[in-house]
Structures are given as structure tokens and as C-alpha cells.
Amino acid sequence: MEDANESIARAPLPTEKTLRQRKNLLTQAMRFAAINLKMIKMIRKGHHPMERKVK
């Protein structure tokens, strides 16, 4: 099997800009809203247990 640490060493590193964005309060506030919307959409898609009934 592939050496995990060689594979990790080849993985892309985030740029300084990406790292800053991951901590930026304004960017993250927007991401907070966006991720919540994605989660709500996904939750609604799978939360209908009585729509498909069986014997």
C-alpha cells in the first residue's frame, strides 16, 4: 500500500490567502450562513420518513 506520509507530503498546502480567509470574521460569517443553508437543504431532503410507507 501507498506510504501515507509520502502521500501527505505531496498534498496541496493552502495558500496564505486561504488560511487568512479561514479565520477572517466577515468571510466566515458568510460561510456560516452558506454552510447552514447547505445543511438545511440536505436535512430536508432526507427527513420524510412517512412519505414512503411499507407494510
Binding site: 500500500m1 456560516f32 432526507g46 410507507k53 411499507v54
Partner: protein
């Protein structure tokens, strides 16, 4: 009037209990049997394990909530199920051993019309010699374990502050473990704490896992779109490991733990020893020690339970090969085929097969991450069982019941990578469906639109918000049922 008995008060059982009281009305009796007196919101236990939260912040006593809701609570351990009753009664019943201080050791018999088995797992530390709090490693599976883990972590931090290097091993302690996501979270929370303590450069952190690739998480990994490309959770996770300077040992079965040493074997047959000063390794799970008997008193545990000890439900247990399984093999109603008034939800039901590809080493050692079925899916199953019981009470045994297959259900996972309102971080992930469906989604098994991953401070805020929201819900505060599972 029907009596609904629920075994277990974790996410699945407690969700079922609260919904049962709300949906089934006062004319039906709800009884919860759990050996623990407190509810625990397990996802936040990671923060207890690094000393960022107290046990009181992630747990609360169950009895006052149940009293207020009109739910009978027996603090007891279920020992036997008698689904046909016995010579003295034709009603199914459960034999329990009380664990509350006032009734400790007392044996009881509780009859039911409907039984929801939501016991969760038995933490099988015994599967690996030396594993666990009674051995040489710590765990974050219970609040007590997490407190011990935080204490042990502080001890190695103190050693590092004295200038001595320390080796830290975090991961899973057996080839068939599940909950790799929790081990991943703990790894990055520890790394975060070491940086905060100013000793990161003195620590060598190694993540040891049964996953064949990083980012597998026991669900075969994820594929999602990012910046116009399809990417994988493998690449994404490897990037995080590189950024944080964490090493990994993959496809590993931990054979035994000795003081300061993890002995492991990998899928390719390689054997190795990982030295540690601090090790948090999660145990494998098995079904709780629950036996079943027929009306004559003959043991029928093999009929009700899979060899793993988890309860059989409406899944395909024919044992077909990994390459042959279909999403349709997964259970939809969670009813036991022999006794349809028994449901098994959450970790308590026996999954028909692994989601991640199971592998064997040349020595024949099975290295196969078990499917996760905690959190959101557990809550949905608990509610489904109650909705189905409501139909059965109203319409009789032939009434139609609801379905909620994990192959038609999504899950959100927010894996903390460090706490702090300004400096915290987490990997937010969603997947739909949890069990890949290669018929509906031929390329990746999942909907690309509904499967995604992202790292950032927002994820930490979401995990923190979920902590408060789900504890509010579990305490059955005003409007609790409006919060989805």
C-alpha cells in the same frame, strides 16, 4: 392503551422517548430503561477530552426531563428480552438489573407492547490487549474517559514545557473500529491545544487508523465539488495533515498495547511498533450483553442478533460479497423480522455490510472500518420508530409504517479541528446519502450537490451552535421538536 419501552437514552433512544410522548399522546405509556442517569451529547465530548469543556457542560440528568414529560424512567441495565413472554404471561417483556443507588442489584421485569432497542454499543476494549483506561491508553467515549484523557494530556504538556519531546498517538485501537471521525477530531484538537500551550514543536503526533486512505471516515470517503473541480476527502484530509504536521499510519489493525508501545499490523502485512507517551485510541464496538429467550425459556439470541451482537432488522443479511451489495440491502423500517413489534435503531441495529471496503492482510487479519450510524441518522431512526408505532397503534399490526434508509438519508458532520471563538476551526461535511447508492448516483454513489466539505472558523461556530441547540432539544425545552434530528 399501548406501552412503549425504549432501551437506551442516547441520541436514538432519547429522541424516540421525547417524540413518543409528543406523538403518541397521554393515553399510551412510555418507559425508558437506561443504565446511565445522565444524558450525554457525545459530539462535544471531544472538547472535554482536551479540557475545553467540563463533563457538566455535555451531560445533564435524565430523570427531571422524563418526569416533566410524563415518561417513566428506570435506571437499569436491560439483560434479557422475552418477546413471546413466558408460561405466566403472553406479553413480551424485558428483564432488567437496576443500577440506580437506591435499587442497585434489584432485578425487574417490564412488559411491553412495542420495544425500541436503542442501547448503543458495548465499548469492546477487551478486543485488543492493553487497550483502554484499564490498560495503557485513554479514550473519549464517555465523559469520565474524556476527563481522564484531558488530565493525561495536561501531564504530557507539562513534560514538554520542561523541554522534553513527547510522542502522541491518536486513532482507533482495532481493525474493525468505527467513529474514525471522532479520532480525527481529537487529533486536531490535541494539535491545536499543543500550539496554544506553545509546545507544538516538541510533539510528534501520529494518527493511526484502520482506514485504507485518509478521509475515508468509515463511509468509503467522499467526492465533492470545489472551485469547479471534483475533489476527494482523501486529498482534502491529507492537505490538513500536511498543514498541521501530523503523520499517519493507515490500514492498521492494533494487535496489542504495551506501556508506551502500540503494536500494529497493516493491510500489506507490515508489522510495526508506534512508541507513545500519550495515546488516545478508540475501542471497537459490539452489541451490548443482551440475550433473548422464547416462551419456553430457550435462548434465541442467535435469531434476534447478528454475530456482532447488534440486532437484526429488515436488512439483507445474506452475506453477499462487498462488490455485490446494493443500497437497497440497508434497512428501511428497523423492525425485527421475527418480532415486528421490536425496533432497533442507532448503533443497536446490525448493518448488513461495511461501507468502506473491507480488507484482509496476508496474515488473514480483517481490517475493515465499520459503518458509522450515530448522530443525525440515529435521531431520524428513533423518530421513525415512534411514527411507525403510532401507525401500528392506530391501524393494527397490518398498518403501513414509515421508512428511513441510510441509503436515502443524508448526514452532516462537523469535525472540530480546534476550539476558540476567534481561533477555532472545524471541517464541515455533509453527505447524501450516507450509504452510497451507485444505482441512483452511478459515478460517486452520492449526490455531488449535497456532498461537500469545507474547513474554517465557521465550522467551529456551527459545531458550537449545534452543541447548545441539541442540548436544548434534549432537555425538551420550549419548541424542542422544531429542531430537526
Amino acid at each position: 392503551m399501548a406501552r412503549v419501552v425504549i432501551l437506551g437514552a442516547g441520541v436514538a433512544g432519547h429522541t424516540a422517548a421525547l417524540h413518543a410522548r409528543r406523538i403518541l399522546g397521554k393515553s399510551n405509556e412510555i418507559i425508558v430503561i437506561s443504565p446511565n442517569s445522565r444524558y450525554i451529547w457525545i459530539p462535544s465530548n471531544i472538547w472535554v477530552g482536551v479540557g475545553k469543556m467540563s463533563a457538566e457542560q455535555v451531560t445533564f440528568p435524565l430523570a427531571p426531563v422524563y418526569k416533566k414529560q410524563g415518561i417513566a424512567f428506570h435506571q437499569a441495565l436491560a439483560k434479557e428480552i422475552h418477546p413471546e413472554g413466558d408460561s405466566t404471561t403472553s406479553s413480551g417483556y424485558v428483564t432488567v438489573a437496576y443500577t440506580s443507588p437506591d435499587r442497585s442489584g434489584e432485578i425487574g421485569q417490564i412488559e411491553y407492547d412495542f420495544l425500541i432497542n436503542a442501547t448503543g454499543p458495548k465499548l469492546n476494549f477487551a478486543a485488543t490487549p492493553g487497550l483502554g483506561p484499564d490498560g495503557h491508553t485513554v479514550s473519549v467515549c464517555t465523559s469520565g474517559h474524556a476527563i481522564e484523557a484531558a488530565k493525561a494530556l495536561q501531564e504530557v504538556i507539562a513534560v514538554m514545557k520542561g523541554g522534553k519531546r513527547q510522542a502522541i498517538a491518536i486513532g482507533v485501537g482495532h481493525g474493525t473500529c468505527t467513529c474514525e471521525g471522532a479520532a480525527f477530531e481529537y487529533t486536531f484538537n490535541v494539535e491545536h491545544e499543543l500550539r496554544s500551550a506553545g509546545v507544538r514543536e516538541l510533539a510528534e503526533i501520529t494518527y493511526i487508523t484502520n482506514e485504507y486512505e485518509l478521509g475515508d471516515f468509515g463511509v468509503g470517503g467522499l467526492v465533492f465539488s470545489q472551485s469547479g473541480f471534483q475533489t476527494t476527502s482523501k486529498l482534502w484530509t491529507e492537505s490538513l495533515f500536511r498543514e498541521r504536521g501530523i503523520k499517519a499510519i493507515l490500514g492498521a489493525h492494533v494487535e496489542k498495547i504495551e506501556p508506551g508501545q502500540v503494536h500494529y499490523e497493516q493491510v500489506d502485512g507490515t508489522k510495526g511498533v508506534l512508541r507513545f507517551d500519550f495515546a488516545m485510541l478508540l475501542p471497537p464496538f459490539k452489541g451490548v450483553d443482551l440475550k433473548a429467550f422464547d416462551k419456553e425459556g430457550n435462548e434465541i439470541s442467535e435469531k434476534l442478533f447478528a454475530p456482532s451482537g447488534f440486532m437484526k432488522v429488515d436488512a439483507d443479511y445474506s452475506g453477499k460479497g462487498y462488490e455485490e451489495w446494493l443500497a437497497a440491502d440497508w434497512p428501511k423500517t428497523y423492525r425485527n423480522p421475527l418480532y415486528p413489534n421490536i425496533f432497533a435503531v442507532g448503533i443497536a441495529f446490525a448493518p448488513p455490510h461495511q461501507i468502506s471496503k473491507p480488507r484482509k492482510s496476508p496474515n488473514g487479519t480483517l481490517i475493515a472500518p465499520s459503518p458509522p450510524r450515530t448522530g443525525m441518522p440515529s435521531g431520524i431512526m428513533g423518530k421513525l420508530a415512534v411514527l411507525s408505532i403510532n401507525e401500528l397503534i392506530k391501524g393494527g399490526p397490518s398498518a403501513q409504517v414509515g421508512t428511513a434508509s441510510m441509503a436515502d438519508m443524508g448526514a452532516a458532520c462537523v469535525a472540530s479541528a480546534g476550539s476558540g471563538l476567534r481561533v477555532g476551526s472545524a471541517a464541515s461535511m455533509t453527505m447524501y446519502p450516507v450509504v452510497p447508492d451507485f444505482v441512483a448516483y452511478p459515478n460517486t454513489g452520492r449526490s455531488i450537490d449535497d456532498t461537500f466539505g469545507e474547513i474554517g472558523l465557521a465550522g467551529h461556530w456551527i459545531k458550537l451552535a449545534l452543541h447548545y441547540m441539541f442540548i436544548y432539544k434534549a432537555k425538551a425545552r420550549f419548541g424542542w421538536f422544531l429542531i430537526p434530528e
